[in-house]
C-alpha cells in the first residue's frame, strides 16, 4: 500500500540557518512512528512545514497523493492532518467541550446564510458536533469535564483535551509534538495507552515527536532521526538503538571522527 505521507527532499531556511535540509520521510498508512533528534534538530519545524504554518523552500509533501506544499493550515487540516503542540495551545477561555467543538470546525459544512439566520438543519448539526465532542472527551478519559474552563484543568488533562480536539477533525494522520513532555511516569504510561488506542480503535496514523526514549522505543514501529535539520537515520527501534550515528548525535562525537557531509557544524 502506498504510504499515507511522503516527504521528499524538504528544505526550509530561516535567514542563514537551514532548519530543515533535504529531509525525506515516508510514513506507512496505519503505522505508529516517531521522529527524534536532539534539541534544535528541526523536528518542530518539520511539523510546522507539514501543517502549513511555514512554507517549504523546496521539496514536496505528498499526503494521500495530494501535495500539501503552499496550502494554508486550515486546508491542511481539512485534508486530514491534525496536530497537538509542544507547549499546550488550548483556547484557554473556552470550555473543554467548546475546544473540542472548534476542532470539528472544518467538518461542519454550513453556509454563512444558515449560520446567520439559523434556517433548518443547522441546529441539528450543532447538536451532532456536541455529541461527537462529548464522545471524544469520553475517549480520552475526560468524561464529565466538558463544562470546565480548559485553563482550570491539570496539565495532563489539558494534553488530553488537545488530543480530543485534534481528533475532532476526523484526521487520517495525527502529529503529536512532544505529547508526554512534563508528564510524570504514571501520566506518561496513560498517554502511551491513549496513543495506541488512537491508532487501533480509530485507525488514525500516528507520528510522534518525542524526547522520552522509553516512550519512543516502547511504541514506535519506525523511527526517523533528525540532527541539525538533516535526517541521519531511520529504522526500527532496535536498529536505531544500535546506530552509531544516532548515538553520536545524542552523546557527542569523538574528536577523531571529524568528517561527514551530512552532519556539518551549523554556521
Amino acid at each position: 500500500m502506498a504510504p499515507i505521507l511522503e516527504v521528499k527532499n524538504l528544505s526550509k531556511s530561516f535567514g542563514g540557518i537551514r532548519a530543515v535540509r533535504d529531509v525525506s520521510i515516508s510514513i506507512e498508512r496505519g503505522s505508529m512512528s516517531s521522529i527524534i533528534g536532539p534539541n534544535g534538530a528541526g523536528k518542530t519545524t518539520l511539523f510546522n512545514l507539514l501543517t502549513g504554518i511555514y512554507k517549504a523552500d523546496t521539496g514536496e509533501i505528498l499526503f494521500d497523493g495530494k501535495n500539501l506544499v503552499g496550502k494554508r493550515p486550515d486546508q491542511v487540516n481539512a485534508a486530514g492532518v491534525a496536530r497537538t503542540f509542544q507547549n499546550i495551545r488550548l483556547f484557554h477561555n473556552m470550555s473543554v467541550l467548546e475546544n473540542v467543538m472548534v476542532g470539528a470546525h472544518s467538518r461542519l459544512k454550513v453556509s454563512l446564510w444558515r449560520t446567520l439566520f439559523h434556517v433548518g438543519g443547522f441546529n441539528e448539526q450543532e447538536v451532532a458536533v456536541r455529541e461527537k465532542a462529548l464522545n471524544l472527551l469520553k475517549f480520552v478519559g475526560l468524561a464529565g469535564k466538558g463544562d470546565e474552563l480548559s485553563r482550570n484543568l491539570p496539565y495532563g488533562d489539558q494534553r488530553r483535551v488537545e488530543i480530543a480536539r485534534a481528533l475532532a477533525s476526523d484526521p487520517k494522520l495525527i502529529l503529536f509534538d512532544e505529547p508526554t513532555a512534563g508528564m510524570n511516569p504514571n501520566e506518561t504510561q496513560d498517554a502511551i495507552g491513549l496513543f495506541r488506542r488512537v491508532r487501533e480503535e480509530l485507525g488514525v496514523t500516528v507520528v510522534l515527536i518525542e524526547h522520552d526514549m522509553r516512550v519512543v522505543m516502547n511504541i514506535s514501529e519506525h523511527i526517523d532521526v533528525l540532527d541539525y535539520g538533516a535526517k541521519i537515520a531511520e529504522g526500527t527501534p532496535d536498529e536505531i538503538r544500535a546506530n552509531p550515528r544516532v548515538i553520536e548525535a545524542y552523546l557527542g562525537r569523538r574528536h577523531s571522527k571529524v568528517d561527514e557531509s551530512a552532519n556539518p557544524e551549523v554556521a
Binding site: 501543517t51 502549513g52 504554518i53 494554508r72 493550515p73 486550515d74 491542511v76 487540516n77 481539512a78 491534525a82 496536530r83 503542540f85 507547549n87 495551545r89 483556547f91 484557554h92 477561555n93 473556552m94 470550555s95 467548546e98 467543538m101 472548534v102 476542532g103 470546525h105 472544518s106 467538518r107 461542519l108 454550513v110 454563512l112 449560520t115 446567520l116 439559523h118 443547522f122 450543532e126 458536533v129 463544562d147 470546565e148 474552563l149 482550570n152 480536539r165 477533525s169
Partner: protein, 397 residues
C-alpha cells in the same frame, strides 16, 4: 454575554446553585441561553448604572444643595430622574452597538479600528439617502413606518458591513504582519478618506453636506409618547424607543451568533490564538472578514438609528460618538463583548445624568459633560486598567 463565561469565572456565593443539576440543565436551554440570560444581563446593567448614578447624583445634591438661588438640586433630580434614565439607556445602546465593532475587531486582530466611527457615520448617511429617495418618490408615507425603519436599518447596516470588509481587504490585510502601530495609523487615514469621500458624494449629489432626514414626513415618528412616573410625565421620543427595541433585538442576535454558532466559535478561537485556530481547520482570513462584516454592520445599525434621533447629520458626526464608544469598549474591557455592552450603557447613562444636572451649576453647564465622562474613564482605568470586565493580560510565550 455568554452564560458559560459567567458560570465558570464569577462563581462566589452562587456556587452551589450554579453546580446544581437544575441550573446545568437550564444553562443548556436555548431560550435561556440566548434570550433570558442576555436580556437579564442588559436589565441588570441598566439597573446597576441607574442605581450608581442616582446615588452619585443625590450625593452631589447633598454637597451642593442649592447650586443656584432658589433651585433645590435634589428636587430637580427627582423630577428628571426617569427622563435621564430613559435618554441614557437610549444613547447608551447606541454607544454599545458601536463599541461592539471596536471590540470584535480588537478581539481578532488586536488593533483599534479607528475608521469604525466612520462606518457609524456612513450608516447615518445611507439612511438619509434611503429616506430621501423614498421621499422624492413620494412613497415615504405609503410604507408602514415599522417596516420602513426595519428596511432602512438593515440596508444601512448591510452597506457599512460591506464597506468594513472592503476596508479590511484593501487597507489592513496587507499590513497583517506589520508592527501594531502601522495599521492603527492606517485606520486613522482610512477614517479621513471615508469622511472626505462621503462629503464629496453628498456635495456632488445634493450640493450640501448637512443632511436633514425627512423624518418630519413620517407622522408616526413625530408625536412623543407620554410615560407617567408617579406625579411626573415624561415625553419619550418614538425614535428613542425604536433605538432601544432595535438594539436589544440586535444584541440578542449578536450574542447568539458569537456564542451559539460555528462561526462565532471560530471567531472566539481566533481571538485567543489565531495560529492554533488555523491549524484546527478555521479559515482565519474568512473569519476576519466576517468579523469586519458584523462589526461594520453594527456600526451602521447604530448610525442609522442615531440619525433618526438627531435628524440632521453631516460627514463629521462619527467622531464623538465613535470616541465615546471606543471609551465604552475600553471601559468594559476591550475585546470583551459583554464589556462593550456594559461600558456603552454606563457611558451613555453618565452622559445623560451629567446633562441633566450640570445645567444647574452656573460655572459649568452642559458643555462640561464630556470632561466628566472622560474623567470617569480615567478614574476607572487607574483602578482597573483591564476595564470593568476585562481580564488581566498575562503575556505568554
Amino acid at each position: 454575554m455568554t452564560a458559560e463565561t459567567l458560570d465558570s469565572r464569577r462563581r462566589g456565593i452562587f456556587e452551589s446553585f450554579l453546580d446544581s443539576k437544575f441550573y446545568r440543565r437550564l444553562s443548556r436551554n436555548f431560550i435561556y441561553r440566548y434570550v433570558i440570560y442576555p436580556v437579564g444581563q442588559m436589565l441588570l446593567f441598566v439597573a446597576l448604572a441607574a442605581a450608581v448614578l442616582t446615588l452619585v447624583a443625590y450625593g452631589i445634591a447633598i454637597l451642593f444643595p442649592e447650586p443656584r438661588p432658589n433651585i433645590v438640586l435634589a428636587d430637580q433630580i427627582s423630577k428628571q430622574l426617569p427622563g435621564m434614565i430613559i435618554s441614557g439607556v437610549s444613547i447608551g445602546f447606541v454607544y454599545a452597538m458601536i463599541a461592539l465593532g471596536y471590540t470584535l475587531v480588537y478581539g481578532v486582530l488586536k488593533f483599534i479600528n479607528f475608521a469604525h466611527s466612520e462606518l457609524f457615520m456612513l450608516g447615518a448617511v445611507a439612511s438619509f439617502f434611503f429616506l430621501s429617495v423614498l421621499n422624492t418618490a413620494g412613497l415615504l408615507t405609503d410604507v408602514h413606518p415599522v417596516l420602513l425603519i426595519i428596511v432602512m436599518v438593515l440596508l444601512s447596516g448591510a452597506f457599512t458591513g460591506l464597506i468594513g470588509v472592503l476596508v479590511e481587504r484593501i487597507a489592513y490585510k496587507p499590513l497583517r504582519g506589520a508592527p501594531r502601530l502601522v495599521p492603527l495609523i492606517t485606520a486613522i487615514g482610512v477614517s479621513f478618506v471615508l469622511i472626505d469621500l462621503t462629503r464629496i458624494f453628498a456635495a456632488v449629489t445634493i450640493n450640501d453636506f448637512n443632511l436633514t432626514l425627512p423624518t418630519r414626513e413620517i407622522p408616526a415618528l413625530a408625536a412623543p409618547v407620554p410615560f407617567q412616573f408617579g406625579s411626573t410625565t415624561v415625553n419619550v421620543r418614538v425614535s428613542s424607543i425604536i433605538i432601544v427595541v432595535a438594539a436589544v433585538i440586535m444584541l440578542l442576535f449578536l450574542n447568539y451568533f458569537v456564542n451559539g454558532t460555528r462561526s462565532g466559535r471560530a471567531i472566539r478561537a481566533i481571538s485567543q490564538d489565531a495560529t492554533t485556530a488555523g491549524l484546527m481547520g478555521i479559515n482565519v482570513n474568512l473569519m476576519i472578514s466576517l468579523t469586519f462584516l458584523i462589526g461594520g454592520a453594527f456600526g451602521g445599525f447604530a448610525g442609522s438609528l442615531y440619525s433618526l434621533n438627531v435628524g440632521t447629520i453631516n460627514p463629521y458626526i462619527g467622531f464623538f460618538p465613535g470616541l465615546k464608544a471606543f471609551t465604552a469598549a475600553v471601559l468594559g474591557g476591550i475585546g470583551n463583548v459583554t464589556g462593550a455592552l456594559l461600558g456603552g450603557l454606563f457611558i451613555g447613562m453618565t452622559e445623560s445624568f451629567l446633562n441633566g444636572t450640570l445645567v444647574y451649576f452656573p460655572a459649568l453647564g452642559q458643555r462640561y459633560t464630556d470632561v466628566f465622562t472622560f474623567g470617569v474613564l480615567i478614574a476607572v482605568l487607574i483602578f482597573r486598567p483591564q476595564g470593568l470586565l476585562g481580564e488581566r493580560v498575562d503575556e505568554k510565550v
